[in-house]
Symmetry: C3
Subunit: 332 residues, 3 copies
Amino acid sequence: MSNRTSLKQQLRYYRPCNTSKPSMLDFVNKAKWDAWKSLGSVSQEEARQQYVDLISSLVGTEAPAVAAQPTGSTKGFQTLLVSTEDNITTIRLNRPEKKNAITVEMYNELIEALDLAGKDDSVITVITGSGDYYCSGNDLNNFTKIPEGGVEKLAKESGELLRRYVKVYIDFPKPLIGVINGPAVGVSVTLLGLFDVVYATEKATFHTPFSQLGQSPEGCSSYLFPKIMGAAKASEMLLFNKKLTAAQACEVGLVTEVFPESSFQSEVWTRLKAYAKLPRNSLALSKQLIRVVEKEKLHAVNDAEVERLVERWLSDECMQAIMSFFQAKSKL
Amino acid sequence: MSNRTSLKQQLRYYRPCNTSKPSMLDFVNKAKWDAWKSLGSVSQEEARQQYVDLISSLVGTEAPAVAAQPTGSTKGFQTLLVSTEDNITTIRLNRPEKKNAITVEMYNELIEALDLAGKDDSVITVITGSGDYYCSGNDLNNFTKIPEGGVEKLAKESGELLRRYVKVYIDFPKPLIGVINGPAVGVSVTLLGLFDVVYATEKATFHTPFSQLGQSPEGCSSYLFPKIMGAAKASEMLLFNKKLTAAQACEVGLVTEVFPESSFQSEVWTRLKAYAKLPRNSLALSKQLIRVVEKEKLHAVNDAEVERLVERWLSDECMQAIMSFFQAKSKL
Amino acid sequence: MSNRTSLKQQLRYYRPCNTSKPSMLDFVNKAKWDAWKSLGSVSQEEARQQYVDLISSLVGTEAPAVAAQPTGSTKGFQTLLVSTEDNITTIRLNRPEKKNAITVEMYNELIEALDLAGKDDSVITVITGSGDYYCSGNDLNNFTKIPEGGVEKLAKESGELLRRYVKVYIDFPKPLIGVINGPAVGVSVTLLGLFDVVYATEKATFHTPFSQLGQSPEGCSSYLFPKIMGAAKASEMLLFNKKLTAAQACEVGLVTEVFPESSFQSEVWTRLKAYAKLPRNSLALSKQLIRVVEKEKLHAVNDAEVERLVERWLSDECMQAIMSFFQAKSKL
């Protein structure tokens, strides 16, 4: 209670009339300050540790990622492992110690890797994650380096990056298969509606906590989720932050099939290798036939979602929601 | 058998060439007459009782509804209880002794209450029912007061009222949640496709007996039900009068989740109160983002459905279907 | 292994530069030759028997079908039994010894039978199959009689026939109900998205092995299957040849309800007779109301699917896929 009050006071303190309007994009610095303030009576040492834990859990340390190294022929990506074998191009998110959170660099590398995979002579393309997580969504560090032009510029650039990222999924010209090896969060969930097949381990979960963070859905989920599962189930996810188990995600049609963790990799890859032996053109042309009827609408939805999200990022409500979230977390 | 024959004879009797074409809109008076005629050999006293039971079950008595009184701040509605608490505006259908059948007055009050709820500063809006039923659909008494302009005018006015009623759901600007406390019939079911979340007690049922009554679907269900559950399941409901249990409605995606009757209210309201603490604008803007892509089509569907329904109301087939239904009921 | 090599060699052998480009449309003759070649060391007698089995399983013998005879009033179709009783027009695929594979003649008769059923005064129309199969899809013999104009002409004509066949389902003006009495393959599965209700015996299966044969989806399935079950489930069927059980098909919404084989016919026909007593116009107009919002899009999808399929039929990949399939079969 007193924390809530002090948060409001802090927000007022941060917003004297003669400074430019702050926004959610500054939230990480604010979160550090608030977290420190909210520690109350804990000792200096405990406080330091809790602070480190909090910030680490949110945006990661600055230390470079210790990730698996590519094997076989692969382009030199920093955040991905990309390889082609048995007619399958596999794109592996490779920041396991950050739960594969997507940095600006990773967004750009994913766009490039998907562009290349669409053009290479593989039959199918697979996206999966290194480590325990599939992907924890947007890396919040993306919002901490405010450019010259200020937060408006940052929001606009972030929106444009997201728009290009989703676009490459809409236009992807061959079967795209998700191998969901663990929890998926945010944009890594909303994009699943644009995959052709999604196989998940039983320990995967699917979580899109947009409204909790004052934001709004992307990845064409505002259109595809109601189409896949009906509005009544989609809204519980997209508006009210419901986290689905793998079995629930399969039941509503977001996931094609769920496998026991023990046999997940062997069962799935046996299938994928069989799929990759099917006639290449037949698969690509059939996938394009399925996609073409929705393509124009999907691009329009992507544009509308990004526009709304940029507005959200610049809103007071969004900043306050994120700070409340961090406050709550720092009290745990 | 003989009843069927006599019904046909009666219909002929009622339609001499020189009178204006009768229609389903007159059916209540006809039903009284037919019911009386079909009683056959039962005693005068039994007949009177059966007649009273029949008519009561169909269109209610003329006695005013004895309904719960509003508590807290609420506008003076006659057929609804409307209140706002904890950022939730709750609209409660309040004619429990008529199973919350929707009269012309209730349609108008619902339109007004939803309009107000859309503009007030609540975060979410809830619709539920008083008593054992959620809502038994359109009150058949709506068709018994033939205006000056005759049945054509009545049909046209009824259609326009329905069109406006559905429109307010299409345009509703914030999350709309159904708390389905018991059986739902007709338009109270078809409209569920326009809700964002639908929570139901296990004792709820979902029934849209249109064709049985010679009518056709409304509430955008002709478009949304196939979208939600596929044509194969939707048609069984919309064409062939299949009544769904709560569990079945959840399985096909019309209902978000089903709760045991014993804990229904406490579980659902605990959730709703948590939802109402989420960022207001984020929720409203996300809901609008989901809706906007379908809005134009939904308005067109609403118009087409109402147009067809008005034709139906003026058709002989519709009148005969309703009378056959009453005949069958009077024989039970 | 050696068979695969020899297949490639044979293909080269069949394609000297100075002959016209062969295509999948010639595949049956090729299949005979390949099958014979691949028999290897089996005896002359065994070989003959295996050859007969193979070809029979694929394209049937030339012997006329021994099929059930129509009872009651029925037009003189060669491949169908059509009758009208109790307000139900039933169209029964009647080539049980060929698993009701659809010949050119049967396509034409189905178009005519559906056209008549749409205009007669029955209330509902039912399609079902004679014998153990519902329908094994397109009869491969359709591609063996190369006309004067060559394979291009054959492909174009086959495409136009398919387009007209699917069109009659899109435009069908009253409730159309599938009674799926056994396995369904190919176009008999993809068309189910255009039925209003689909009842299946537990022993029915649903299989669309397009990509395996180098082809692409038809029957509006490229649009309707993702709409019914979501892309993640639809693609596994349409791209990766997944065969569904009746229970699985029901779960994803392609089938309305599954019945035990022992009571299938009696349960289903009891229902259908009840449906056929409902108000005729109400049913037809409600069905048309549901369809009209999608009709323009469905015709466009049908055209696009047929165009792609004609391209496929004329592609080398398609021919090779079919021949590989036959090679694999001949080795079993």
